[in-house]
Amino acid sequence: MAAKPFSRRTFLKAAGVTLAAATGDIFAFNDWLAKAKAAEVSKIPSICGTCSAWCGMWIYVKNGRIWKATGQKQHPASKGKLCARGHAGIMWAYNKDRITHPMKRMGDNWFEPISWDDAYSEIAAKLQKVLTDYGPQTVFYSQNAKPTSRYYMQRFMHAIGAPTIHSHHSICSTARDVANKWTTGAMATADMANAKCILFLGRSYADGISPSATANLADARERGTKVIIVDPRYSSSCILGDQWVPIRPGTDLALLLAMAHVLLEENLYDPDFIEQYTVGFDEFKKTMLSYTPEWAAGITDIPAETIRTIARDLGKNRPASCIEQGYKAPNGANYVNGTQTFRMMICINALLGNYGKNGGMKFPLNPKLGELDPKQYPVPPKPKVPRCDGVGIKGEYPLCQTSQGIPHLMPKKAMEGKAKAGFIYSFNPARNSPDPKLMVDGYKKLELLVVCDIQWSETAMAASYVLPECSFVEREDLPTGIAGGKPAVTMRCQAIDRIHSQTKPFEEIVTGLAGKMGLQKYFDFSREEVATAMLKPLKLTTEDLRQKGTIVLDGKAKELSFATESGKVELYCKAFADNGYDAVPVWQPPLANAGKNSFVLIHGKQGIMSHTATANIPGLLQIAKNYNLERIWINPAKAKRLGIKDGELVEVSSPYTSKQVRVKVTERVHPDAAFLPAGYGNLSPWLKTGYGFGINPNDFCPHRVEAISGHAMMMEVVVTIRKVGE
């Protein structure tokens, strides 16, 4: 050979090459395929991680790869079924755009891979500096809470003396949860199996799917349950209901006040229940007197007679009737009157005397899980400094739950210099909270932001360090209890080997960082030891769960009681009065009101799309594209006035931004509302699949914090819509 190229290292290393071994029969692809087809299939229990319904799933594995997935029959959320999101979400493992290495920010939209050891060392040094210079009250942790992350990061945060731990609920359901805490002590759920009449306010099982809830709704309807759905739009659930009652956005509280008025005026409430289980009935009744259906009709745009009929339907069927507990809808984080809206829902259920009754509201039973012996495994002391989000602090957010906190407030706190370092796990507040620019600008003011995720979310793009977790099919998690009529316990098990060697399960990440912080003594155990301790009181083992996935436990309903300060349902809530809030709900108008040519911008999930995270799943996004699911819905009457036709390109504008999208003109939405699906409009260019498709309601809404429960008031915005030339 006359010339030779430069030759460097070879990657294929021979481990004692013997060509005799090369005479096997799989060299040709088809020969290999024939063998691969005949391989055995194994079945591993898991928990779907695509949305927060966390359905139990079986993952079937063949040749080390996912072969199919089905719903676990015994799991209360899946009951043998998975939705499209579950089937599509398992492909996250094989997505080519995952985060594959620990990454360090080097500039705008620029990160470089670093080793885990360097990442731990640098993060530990920066965190230590923040703790020394500013104190542990300036450090926060925000998560979409999962059993493993909750357990390990709570220990870590307590070990560094930092109390500010958040779940995602301030942009989801925190108004519901705060209202329940202070009104009944805990959240009860509707007994759909036995209800004769059930009222849904906004919540759509068929859009924010858990398969069992949707099936239960269909079953209820078939059994003859009257299903009334009040919603500014005709959601996918309405086909399973008897009656759709369109309502003006943000006015559910007025409807509820008037319904209470009718129940009281027509003696359609349960005096015995009121006597035995509630406090403040007289003040409550007095307050409700002025809220007539005629008054509410003007506010809600629901005819007075319809309001009366709904109240009577519930009242006459009591106690086997209820208002479903809600979630983000109608008002978990949407309007200024959110917390009191939920208090009124609960108060009406109390008027119906349905708590603990068949067909009414029942408190789910929780399995009691164990924990590690603190004598053998030291538990870090609870932090003594105040939280930096003001939760639990008089004068700030005294009634908001410390288990939830106000994560979307942190960027503002960073701008004020009150938050200096943060950890965010499996949560994307930079995209899923109002005012994404403020969120990113605030996060970038932090001296340290560590984000742990599997894909390049908008929040990850704002981080100083990004730590890659392995996807949910590649890891085992701690067991988790499932509350319900019968409690259950389940555990996600590892279905396939880690595809990217530099990704890690979360407990390894936290333990590694704790080691660098000198906190190893609080993490001197394995996940298996924690899991074993959790299951011990149930007389179960991790092997039991690896075999069965979900195990339903025996459970007997307890005697009815309410874990409030008074021990009763607080129609009048003293804690609210003590903190300057209305002790009995009164009408509070929403901040946003549609005009003749403007709309209140409402949003919601779709059956195939939960959040902007799911928009990056190619199969789901293709469905969205095929069916034009990104379009903004407006009512024909207003569309005609604005000269807008179905399918045209429009510009949607609020005082905060203007964006373009195509329009769906439909009678399925109240004239005062424009409905925009919440799952599109990815801003991170590294979410290659979802980037550039659709727009997101959070872009139009300002950053706000509601006074009582601290939610984000995500639908308090008015938009104008105009046709644009193409």
Partner: protein, 212 residues
């Protein structure tokens, strides 16, 4: 005649190694080597009678003169930013599985890691007692490994098997090149991928002629 054939085979092995090398992250040892590579490629292609124009690779010494800049080009081409890179991985360009019993909804889609072709590569490495670096565990069908495997087959196995291998595993590289152009990745790597695609066309044609 035999000498010419042997010489040609050596050239082919060396080309596969050289082109595989070009797809690995450049280190300091990659400094100042491109002129040698250009001269080699020209001679090698002439010897093999592959009409791949020198214009396709003659600017490599210029484009790769600064190794730290080339390292940056490598990152831009294959790592970050995600929206502008290409992934020279067979799985991305092939149907995920041909096993008709697989029930995941993306079974027949393209664009996912660890397709049948990745699994087949893993099986081939096992069969030949070869190991790959850990960072390639998620992509055992990376182009640099498949090119190196071609060299391995020519050196240690047989021309026939190498011909089967390129036919079954390397038909997607032209698509990769189209993506590289579309994404406008740095020119050195666009040209490397183009030369690989051109070379493989001749290789496939040559093996078909032999079979015929």
């Amino acid at each position: 005649m035999e000498d010419i054939t042997i010489n040609a085979e050596r050239y082919r092995i060396a080309i596969y190694h050289m082109l595989s090398d070009a797809l690995k992250e450049p280190g300091k040892d990659y400094e100042g080597v491109q002129q040698k590579n250009v001269d080699f490629l020209e001679t090698a292609f002439q010897t093999l009678q592959y009409s791949i124009d020198r214009a396709n690779y003659q600017s490599w010494p210029e484009l790769a003169s600064d190794v730290s800049a080339l390292k940056n080009d490598y990152r831009l081409s294959f790592i970050y930013p995600v929206e502008k890179r290409v992934l020279p991985v067979e799985s991305i360009y092939r149907q995920w599985t041909f096993d008709p019993t697989v029930e995941v909804p993306f079974a027949k889609e393209k664009g996912y890691l660890m397709s049948d072709f990745a699994l087949h590569m893993q099986a081939l490495y096992v069969q030949y007692n070869l190991s790959i670096p850990q960072e390639y565990d998620s992509m055992p069908d990376h182009l640099c490994l498949e090119l190196e495997f071609c060299a391995f087959l020519l050196a240690h196995e047989s021309k026939e098997r190498q011909a089967v291998f390129i036919k079954e595993h390397l038909s997607w590289v032209e698509e990769l090149y189209q993506d590289a152009v579309k994404q406008d990745i740095p020119m050195f790597y666009q040209q490397v991928i183009k030369v690989i695609a051109e070379f493989l066309k001749y290789e496939m044609h040559s093996s078909e002629k032999q079979t015929a």
